[in-house]
């Protein structure tokens, strides 16, 4: 299978191109009829393709360059967003954004991984791969949220923590570990949404919460399919097999008790219609917030402990 996500998207794109061509010409009844027909077909084809994605195809969809990123969801779902920067220790990491906003009027905190779309942005965002500063910034801002008793929304979308020399020197492992421990004890509601790629410890470092939601075509795994294939199959081109074997889709994770709810994406994936994806997600966030705001701080922490305490499957 090609690494080009457009391959299985091609029938959809072909119909879209035709609709665009037709839309450019002079309106006349025959043209209008053909467009209407194509639009019906587009819905059907997109639905068919996206109802039957393999785990590897989902990985490619989760990485799609037009997929809505954290800042897109913030723009579509939050008001008064103001980003703040830096870990107050070493620097600022643009692979993670953090700040304060309002969600449907409620003051709140938002953190999330951030990828870039064009080459310049991708480099600026370090391809969404955080360094320790990013995790420490996120924790600093989450602690501020706790201080002011504000709920936290966390958006997960990274292929993993950055495996670089400086990142190791400055304690990549320690930064992730501290986030896991501290997030477990935060006394405010923590709502997590896996919007794209949930890659390993770098994802989990923003992923300990009271509700974990996952978009329909997002993936979440202990290691990237390529990484797993390289180690266990000794061949990174076995990534589709690794994706299958590791059970990385929202449906799999729901069955394994790792996520709470799957948020449907529009036909053709969230990248086909980011606004529609956000429209679907909004009510989920609202309901989760409403439910969690009823709980006392100690109850929140206790329930969160029980939630993660249950995870794992073994024989006794």
């Amino acid at each position: 299978m090609s690494a080009d996500p457009t391959q299985f998207d091609e029938p959809i794109l072909r119909i879209r191109r035709r609709i665009e061509e037709l839309s450019a010409i002079e309106p006349e009844p025959a043209r209008d009829a053909e467009i209407a027909e194509l639009e019906t077909k587009l819905t059907k084809v997109a639905h068919e393709i996206y109802s039957n994605l393999t785990p590897w195809q989902k990985t490619l969809v989760a990485r799609h360059p037009q997929r809505p990123y954290t800042l897109d969801f913030i723009a579509l779902l939050f008001e008064d967003w103001t980003e703040i920067h830096g870990d107050r220790k070493f620097g600022d990491d643009a692979a993670i954004v953090a700040g304060f906003a309002r969600f449907r009027g409620h003051p709140c905190c938002v953190v999330g991984h951030q990828k870039g779309r064009n080459t310049k942005e991708k480099i600026f965002r370090n391809f969404g791969q955080p360094r320790p500063e990013g995790f420490r910034k996120a924790l600093r801002v989450m602690k501020l949220a706790e201080k002011f008793k504000l709920p936290i929304f966390s958006f997960i979308d990274t292929q993993g923590a950055y495996p670089g020399l400086g990142a190791e020197e400055r304690g990549q492992a320690e930064a992730i570990a501290v986030n896991l421990r501290e997030m477990a004890g935060l006394t405010v509601p923590l709502i997590i949404v896996v919007i794209g790629e949930g890659g390993s410890g770098g994802a989990l470092a923003l992923g300990v919460g009271d509700r974990v939601l996952m978009l329909q075509h997002a993936v979440y795994s202990v290691i990237s399919p390529e990484g797993c294939a390289a180690i266990l199959w000794k061949n990174s081109s076995a990534a589709p097999d690794a994706a299958q074997a590791m059970k990385i889709t929202a449906e799999d994770l729901k069955k394994l008790g790792v996520i709470d709810e799957i948020v449907a994406e529009p036909d053709g994936g969230a990248h086909a219609d980011p606004a529609a994806a956000a429209d679907t997600l909004g009510p989920y966030l609202e309901r989760a917030l409403k439910e969690l705001q009823k709980l006392k701080p100690a109850q929140l922490v206790d329930e969160r402990y029980k939630k993660f305490r249950k995870m794992g499957v073994f024989e006794k």
Partner: protein, 262 residues
Amino acid sequence: MPEGLWVKCDDCKEIVYRKEVEANFNTCPKCGFHFRLTAKERFELLFDDNKYKEFASDIRSSDPLGFRDTKKYADRLKVYQQRVGGGDAVLCAEGKLDGMPVVICAMEYAFMGGSMGSVVGEKITIAAERALEKKEPLIIVSTSGGARMQEGILSLMQMAKISAALARLAAAGMPYISVLCDPTTGGVTASYAMLGDLNIAEPKALIGFAGPRVIEQTIRQTLPEGFQTSEFLVEHGMVDLITPRAEMKSTIARFLRIFRGQ
């Protein structure tokens, strides 16, 4: 360590007398290299008179994903259970360290590279909860390649589960000492191994998050000499001290007394 009268040191490559290695806490008499220990050897090193009571030993992996790469995970498990033992990649025990009751978890590198799946996560969490309940210090001796891929996302979640249990221990003012041995990498480093009130490393251990090969491929340059060793981590402020194996028990005991205000 291989069987035989003589062994070759992995580090200085000298051929050394096995008995002399054993008399030196399984370290090389020539260069001080620390050979890997089994979990039981760790217990022997740390518990008084090698007396301890193992717990949570009846938990087994159930291959929750039906995982198969070039081999079935279920088959791999059987091989390791026969060769290494039924304890998976960690053993947990209670006993006394220099007279003080403690809970110790010792990882077993020989069991699938000490990888952490549901069983390791559950056993360590039980150990942390027991330490909390009995108000005993917790010591985790790590040696692990990281999370176990064959249990997928469930392995990743063990990082959160154990860290949450450690958060409770910390909130109760109970000491947790992390001992890092060769090698400690990946998800184990990025959770409990780095969360000790004290992170104590054995000399010259490989300790890191990403593996050296992955980093080299990412940055496309050779790594500096000594990168990701215990010594490198001390220099960069990530572990508190390096303690040779021969002094590990007495060092831990000294801190535990001081932490108790004695």
